[in-house]
């Protein structure tokens, strides 16, 4: 069924100028000394008796407005001063000249306080040093709301106001903004938190997304990453994946529009995969790992929501495959006897990279008996020959995911990546007479002019070898590709930024 976005009758669409009555610009501090404290902090209580001595000081208090005693403190209960002036620790003392901060000290350091106040014997009876406490403006329970309140205008996207009785999950379904599974509601708090995952500016344009060929900004990616369920540290991987698919080489327009069952398969390499907790082991292509599943899902949500690529519209897949919800995994580099996929594609050691491949769903290669590399390579070749059709050569690439138990067979015989690939190519030379149209009772095949030639199943570089999977099981997996090369899609590798 064709899904269309509903007209916004139930919705109030607000332009990005929405602003509750809060101060989003940075308030100017009064000249002289500014001290920020909270009663809950023992160090603040320790220095409180000193504050009446600071005659040019303005004191802001975060919690109890009557604290400190004997000082006419200003309440910072809404934490506007603390937020806008990046107060991470209390007490903080700032010297302000002509409205500009010129010096700051945090916690209690007697010499620093004496320097900033100009009072040579200040705190003679106090210890030399006491660390301060966390500012309420960086309290993990408050920071998301404060960011939305005071930095929400960073976000330029249109606001959608929910009616009182709207269930946000149902509303997002009704609007056609999901992939068929529930999404996380993209609130200002969540999107701003997501943007903390990258150093890139929210307004940076990352790519032109087909099929509508519209610019996608970091902010729009962050919104869709929230919906997909990503953590902020996944965002650079989502951005890199979108850079990798939105170009003429990978041709995500064609990958989307084709009647074949393919979508972007994202293979992640580098130490960052382990830092963000990606799975490269047991059930590597399956469910259960948040990073694997949500990075791939976010990429697909951007294609759907920003690019306008929806099933039944520009997406014309006859069958599709479940991986079009999300298909993203990490290579097991630590346990691999092979150089990694990224290294084989020119990525230096220690770098993080994504490689995107237009692929169908994975299929298992079983060989539980082979214990020498020749026999196992024979099994691999026999299975690889069937990609899309055993009589179709050269037109499709493949990802070959060698499982650890199979990899061990090759490693023990001294076969490295290049050797294994060369052996497979040798075994995948197809006699023309076997693959011409009509041969073996099958109409599919190559034209009769090739009957006296030998054609390779895969073009040079057409097998992308990856090491991944659980440590038990004499299995590997393969992912068939789509029309390859300049007429279709070429695998693309991109470094992951920060």
């Amino acid at each position: 069924m064709v899904q269309r976005q509903l007209e916004p009758t139930r919705w109030t669409l607000l332009k990005s100028s929405y602003s509750p009555s809060v101060t989003r610009s940075k308030p100017i501090l009064p000249d002289g000394l500014v001290v920020i404290v909270k009663e809950e902090c023992a160090t603040c209580q320790m220095v409180a008796p000193l504050l009446p001595l600071l005659t040019d000081a303005t004191v802001y208090t975060q919690d109890n407005p009557d604290f400190p005693a004997h000082v006419d403190a200003i309440s910072d209960a809404d934490l506007a001063i603390s937020w806008h002036h990046d107060i991470e620790t209390v007490p903080t003392v700032i010297r302000v000249v002509d409205g500009v901060e010129v010096e700051r000290t945090i916690g209690w350091h007697r010499d620093s306080w004496r320097d900033i106040t100009g009072i040579a014997d200040l705190g003679e009876d106090l210890p030399v040093m006491r660390p301060g406490c966390g500012s309420m403006s960086v309290d993990p329970d408050k920071v998301d709301m404060l960011r939305a309140k005071y930095a929400g205008d960073r976000l330029k996207s249109r606001r959608i106001e929910l009616a009182d009785l709207d269930d946000e999950m149902e509303v997002l379904f009704d609007r056609g903004l999901t992939d068929g599974l529930p999404v996380t509601a993209p609130t200002e708090e969540r999107v701003l938190r997501m943007l903390e995952g990258t150093r890139r500016d929210a307004s940076d344009v990352v790519a032109i997304v087909p099929p509508d060929l519209v610019e996608v900004t970091v902010e729009k990616i962050a919104i869709n990453a929230v919906m997909a369920g990503c953590k902020p540290e996944y965002l650079p991987w989502v951005i890199a994946s979108l850079e990798a698919i939105c170009n003429d080489e990978f041709n995500v327009h064609g990958v989307l529009a084709t009647t074949m069952p393919v979508g972007p398969v994202i293979i992640c390499n580098g130490p960052g995969t382990r830092a963000i907790g990606m799975n490269s082991g047991v059930n590597v292509l399956g469910q259960g790992n948040r990073a694997n599943l949500t990075i791939g899902r976010a990429v697909q949500l951007v294609v759907r929501n920003v690019g306008g690529g929806r099933p039944g519209e520009v997406d014309r897949a006859a069958h599709g495959n479940p991986g079009k919800l999300s298909f993203c995994f990490a290579e097991d580099e630590i346990g691999s006897p092979f150089t990694s996929l990224a290294a084989s594609r020119g990525v230096g050691p220690g770098s993080n990279a994504v490689t995107v491949f237009a692929g169908e769903g994975p299929r298992c290669i079983v060989d539980q008996l082979a214990r020498d590399p020749d026999q196992l390579a024979n099994s691999f070749a026999a299975c690889l020959r069937t990609v899309h059709h055993p009589k179709l050569p050269l037109g499709f690439d493949v990802v070959l995911i060698v499982g650890p138990e199979h990899a061990r067979v090759f490693a023990e015989a001294g076969w490295d990546r290049d050797r294994l690939l060369a052996e497979l190519h040798d075994r995948l030379q197809l006699a023309g007479a076997d693959i011409v149209r009509g041969a073996h009772g099958m109409a599919e095949g190559v034209q009769d002019t090739f009957k006296d030639l030998t054609l390779p199943k895969f073009r040079d570089g057409g097998i992308l070898l990856v090491h991944a999977g659980g440590g038990a099981g004499l299995f590997s997996a393969m992912i068939g590709g789509w029309a390859n090369g300049s007429t279709g899609s070429t695998p693309v590798t991109r470094l992951v930024g920060t």
Binding site: Q5, L13, L14, Y18, P20, D78, K142, M145, L146, K149, L155, S157, R158, R159, I160, E161, L162, D164, L165, D166, D167, E168, M169, E170, V171, L172, L177, A185, P186, T187, E188, V191, V209, D212, V214, E215, V216, K220, I223, N224, M227, D248, N251, H253, G254, A257, T258, L301, N305, V306, G307, G308, A483, S486, T487, G488, S489
Partner: protein, 108 residues
């Protein structure tokens, strides 16, 4: 409060503040263009036939060309480099400036 909503902190937001979501779409406004009227006759018209480079598209287009030529039209043939990508902008411009009508062949 409706079920499934995001809890808010009354101390920071206050009661009755709207729940807002950010629009994940391109926020693009689609410009609708009306099609040209169908010509009452193709006699004397220049008709472009665009082969999208799918196998056997030429078989279909050869037959169409015969029929159109017999009906008095002038036929011009064009071909996309690959069926997997949109037609290059230069090709679209060429067809638009040289033809009155265009037929695109989807075949297999």
């Amino acid at each position: 409060m409706a079920h499934g909503t995001t809890p808010k902190s009354p101390s920071l937001y206050g009661v009755g503040v709207a729940r807002l979501l950010l629009d994940p779409t391109s926020e693009r406004s689609v410009i609708e263009r009306t099609r040209l009227d169908r010509p009452s006759s193709i006699d004397g018209k220049v008709i472009g036939l665009l082969d999208i480079s799918k196998p056997r598209g030429n078989v279909f287009l050869d037959r169409i060309e015969d029929r159109l030529t017999a009906a008095g039209a002038t036929v011009k043939r064009y071909k996309k480099p690959t069926f997997t990508k949109p037609a290059p902008v230069d090709l679209r411009h060429e067809i638009a400036t040289q033809c009155h009508l265009v037929i695109e062949a989807l075949a297999d």
